[in-house]
């Protein structure tokens, strides 16, 4: 009896190890342990050239970031503005596309594929394609049409570079969000919108009072995905402007990368990365909490 029970226990333990063990071991080594180490390196001077030598310096890195690193705060401010603009424009466009393509239009399945297409190509390659279009393509269109919009130095001034990156981000991401919105819109029970229609509600009123509240879960997900993607934007930034002109379009992610790998200040870079983590966590958790509150059941 005792023997059987201990064998059962041993079997259960073995199963736990076989099923959960390999993934967990790798996750610990690659994500959990480095993340924990980050808290330690935040308080050290660590040059990365000798990966093993880090000197404890207490609050020095944090003091330096908060008092003497205007470039980091420029990057922070740029990333914040970028995230707000990118999230709003992407989701408005995606929701509009979702509404349009659920209306029995001709070729709507082909259009879904077209709008989604930019997502399959990586941010870095997309950035290079658009770099070419901003530098050479727009000039050609501008010459042919005479439209001032195309003759602007799109990546050359802080203001245009900002909207230049927002434009590419929107072009890349809205198709993905559109797919999620389409699924949600199709899921809205038809009888509800028909009832509203019979009661004399206009198309806009039906959308605002029936469709919109019922697709709130999709809005939560899309806002979460766009916010966290925009806030972490790196590849597009690197290939489109490289942070330029000057540091005007440098994102936090690019700033951290350069601090560590160009300036060899790994300790300082890690400290920034930890501040970055808390910012990302705070923003996304607040956003999910705020929109979740507004979700309703059909």
């Amino acid at each position: 009896m005792h023997n059987a029970r201990s064998r059962l226990k041993w079997n259960d333990w073995l199963q736990q190890t076989v099923f959960v063990g390999p993934g967990l071991l790798i996750f610990m080594i690659i994500v959990a342990v480095p993340f924990a180490m980050g808290f330690y390196y935040t308080f050290t001077e660590w040059n990365g050239l000798d990966l093993n030598a880090a000197k404890w310096t207490g609050m020095d890195n944090l003091k330096r970031i908060f008092t003497d690193d205007s470039r980091f705060w420029t990057a922070f401010w740029f990333t914040a503005r970028f995230t707000v603009a990118a999230v709003i424009v992407t989701n408005m466009l995606a929701l509009a596309l979702g509404m349009l393509l659920t209306r029995h239009l001709k070729g709507s399945s082909l259009l879904r594929v077209i709008f989604f297409l930019p997502n399959v190509i990586g941010g870095l390659l997309l950035g290079y394609i658009w770099y070419f279009i901003y530098v050479r393509g727009f000039a050609a269109i501008g010459e042919a049409t005479g439209w001032h919009l195309f003759n602007l130095p799109w990546l050359g001034t802080p203001g245009t570079a900002f909207w230049g990156i927002v434009g590419v981000f929107v072009w890349q991401t809205s198709g993905y969000m559109m797919v999620i919105y389409i699924a949600a819109i199709i899921g809205v029970p038809k009888d509800l919108s028909e009832a509203a229609r019979i009661d004399g509600a206009s198309a806009w009123q039906t959308f605002r009072s029936v469709t919109f509240p019922l697709i709130m879960p999709a809005i939560t997900i899309c806002l979460f995905l766009t916010t966290s993607n925009a806030f972490r934007m790196f590849d597009l930034n690197l290939s489109l402007t490289g942070g330029g002109p000057g540091y005007a379009s440098e994102s936090i992610a690019l700033n951290i990368y350069r601090e560590a790998l160009t300036n060899n200040r790994y300790g300082l870079g890690t400290a920034k990365a930890m501040i970055f983590f808390f910012a990302v966590a705070l923003i996304t958790v607040t956003q999910v909490w705020a929109t979740k509150k507004r979700e309703v059941e059909a």
Binding site: D12, Q15, V18, F19, V20, G23, I26, F27, I29, I30, V31, A32, V33, P34, F35, M37, L51, L97, L100, R103, H104, L105, G107, L111, V113, F116, L117, V120, I121, G122, G123, L124, L125, I129, F132, I133, R136, G137, A139, A140, I141, E143, Y176, V179, I180, A183, A218, I221, F231, R232, F234, D235, S239, A253, Y257, A260, T270, A273, F276, F277
Partner: protein, 277 residues
């Protein structure tokens, strides 16, 4: 069954609007492809016009300049191995977490979900120390292990949501018939997970195939993937637009073909992954 609305001028107007938007979305691909066929002089003269002839000279040069067959194979091997391991490891984990909800397993699931908000930048510098300590740099298996570590959170999350809705009866019947726990998973449960496995495969393929930063940090020159090769090309030959456009066309082609063949599953998979997850 609902009836199709009548064809009205409004509907026609919306159709027209959608097609114009679709054309605007395709515009970058137009620029990319036509300029891949042009000579540098023609690009500088007018980047919007069609090429005078459709020769493949640029592609030939770009093929050797970025060492396309080699970097393609590298990208392919890294992506296939990482995604294969991720599907097996994550589905096994999620299966156990759903069917044995001990305190430890519940906590573990929470940890996996919470880890999804950690930005890569917050992990990457200590990770460089870890990868050199465990001698993971410059090897295929090194980067594959990294991708498993970073991908497992989301994949477990997706499998977890799906497995919760799989009925237990089939598994109980198999146990009565004398199936071992491992055979049960592999022969009964895993095939049932096919829909969500497709989603997990697609999301991870798109991410890993296109990833740039992790390969820069852990593989460098020893094992160059496509994004790295293109980046290096742009660094060296800035403004050699003819070769640049040809190499970009070559590099984007595989994943675009992958998408066009599987677009139905990809779009369905993303829907399933985001709404039900």
């Amino acid at each position: 069954m609902e009836t199709k609305p009548r064809y009205t001028p409004l509907l026609f107007g919306l159709e027209l609007l959608c097609f114009l938007l679709g054309l605007a979305f395709l515009m970058p691909f137009y620029f990319l492809i036509i300029n891949a066929f042009k000579k540098l002089g023609a690009i500088l003269l007018n980047a919007a016009s069609l090429p005078e002839s459709w020769g493949f000279g640029n592609f030939k040069k770009a093929w050797t300049a970025i060492d396309f067959p080699v970097v393609f194979m590298h990208s392919f091997v890294v992506t296939a191995l990482s995604v294969g391991c991720l599907v097996v490891a994550a589905s096994m984990t999620a299966y156990r977490l759903v069917r044995k909800p001990t305190t430890f397993n519940k906590l573990l699931f929470t940890v996996y979900v919470a880890a999804m908000i950690i930005p890569f930048q917050s992990v990457m510098l200590p990770l460089m120390r870890i990868t050199s300590l465990f001698e993971l740099r410059g090897h295929v298996y090194g980067i594959v292990i990294c991708y498993i570590g970073f991908g497992i959170s989301l994949s477990v999350f997706l499998f977890h949501g799906f497995i919760k809705s799989v009925p237990l009866e089939i598994e109980e019947a198999a146990v009565v018939d004398g199936c071992s726990p491992y055979g049960l998973y592999w022969r009964i449960v895993f095939p049932l997970l096919k829909p969500i496995s497709v989603t997990v495969i697609i999301l991870n393929v798109l991410w890993i195939w296109n990833d740039y930063l992790l390969p820069v940090l852990v593989i460098n020159d020893a094992f160059t993937t496509i994004p790295l090769a293109v980046q290096k090309f742009f660094g060296q030959y800035l403004r050699k637009w003819d070769l640049a456009m040809a190499s970009l066309t070559l590099s984007t082609l595989p994943v675009v073909v992958f998408f066009l063949f599987l677009q139905k599953y990809i779009i369905e998979g993303i829907t399933a992954g985001s709404v039900k997850g």
